[in-house]
Symmetry: C2
Subunit: 229 residues, 2 copies
DNA sequence: GAGTGGTCTAGACCACGTT
DNA sequence: ACGTGGTCTAGACCACTCT
């Protein structure tokens, strides 16, 4: 019988995980594998390409395909819009604008976003609640040079996140996770104690080389970001 | 001139990010797109399949392809072996075993790994250094019912992580990130102050339904996990 | 029932990198 | 120079699911 690309992929995967094909060893070429599995080369190609995408094998023209020495395992996290994240848990979402100001871009932000001198930014502070409990604190800066229309939006009504995803395209994103401490102000918003450890996500966004926005999201203490693979 | 799948993909991507194809709207079917781009349907298919994998569009047979309402943006993190992570930064890697013990599996671990009653586990505490500075603290439990041979390994010589990736296959992994506080013991290992916020990664691993290992990795304060897309 | 995506095929040409 | 993977083609059949 003929093999599908999934057959081929899972067979090769098992050869690797069972150790039949050791780390660093050379895998037969596509033509040979196609003969072995009695399928077209394109079928083998797809299986191998996916395994390469997943970091299990390494492919180079002419040199052939090898099992990776240390398989690079990758975790994929969905980065949802807060509202969707909360509603998916079956909780009621509430948004509140805490503060809004137009300011000159501070130095650290200019460095983060690779901005030039002297632009203005819109600085927003918001809170997101799940069933009335503080869920996430949002500290956001929007580059007004790139998005002048942000001046006229009523951010008491719509969250900056939702406004941005609906109106602004983006091409480059840098995201990073870290651990921080809740200071007194943050503790007040998140209904926790000052000095509590908080999970922080920072995201910078560009569109065609121009900085769009930087946001720091802080979750209530105890938050976990989980995924499976 | 004929379009490659990359041409098609980036053209469609730009139609979406520029808003020409609005969220929720129906995308032309593959046959039509193939005509438009003067290429084979398989070429369009590959472009669309990758966009679907990346969470920008949603495809269903008969119903067609739609632009996702809220594009699910995904961040992919490489989960490297510590040694590789450190050496890639150009730093010298050093490993040290702090403690090793065979214990009955505590309740919280049995819950985590969905283990039955009364098994024994190997509990290891290790440190990983970069250029002599504390980099990561590793608290690991290995299920001896699944891996009896772990009793005989000399973990003073080889880190449990490296031993495991070299000898044990795994099929299911659950990984989660969170923020925690350094207690006094951890602070001693990481050369930081007790009460410092620390970034924590937890990973549970199974192979064919059987629990293999659970590990809690704690990084020195200030650690960031970053990615781009 | 019919329209859409999912996959496979056999062949072809090309791009790249090792030798 | 040549062997490998990367991609494209034109056609085919199948699987799903909406109406």
């Amino acid at each position: 019988m003929k093999a599908t690309y999934k057959d081929v992929k899972s067979d090769i995967l098992s050869k690797i995980t069972r150790g039949e094909w050791a780390p660093g060893s050379l895998v037969p070429n596509e033509v040979d594998l196609a003969t072995t599995y009695r399928c077209a080369r394109a079928t083998v190609n797809r299986a191998m390409r996916e395994l390469a995408d997943e970091g299990l094998i390494e492919r180079r023209r002419k040199a052939g395909t090898r099992v990776r020495m240390t398989p690079i395992r990758q975790a994929r996290f969905d980065i949802p819009v807060v509202r969707a994240e909360i509603e998916e848990k079956g909780a009621a979402y509430r948004y509140s604008l805490v503060n809004l100001a137009v300011e000159p871009a501070p130095d650290w932000l200019r460095a983060r976003l690779r901005l030039g001198e002297g632009g203005e930014v819109l600085h927003l502070v918001c809170m997101h609640y799940a069933d009335g409990d503080p869920y996430q604190h949002e500290d956001r800066w929007i580059n007004l040079a790139a998005l002048p229309q942000a001046r006229t939006v009523d951010f008491a009504e719509i969250g900056p996140n939702e406004w941005l995803v609906a109106t602004v395209p983006f091409s480059d994103v840098e995201i990073s996770f870290s651990a921080g401490l809740a200071d007194r102000r943050l503790a007040g918003h998140l209904a926790c104690a000052a000095g509590d450890p908080v999970f922080t996500v920072e995201r910078s966004t560009w569109w065609e080389g121009q900085a769009v926005t930087y946001v720091r999201l802080t979750f209530r203490p105890g938050h976990r970001m989980t995924t499976r693979y």
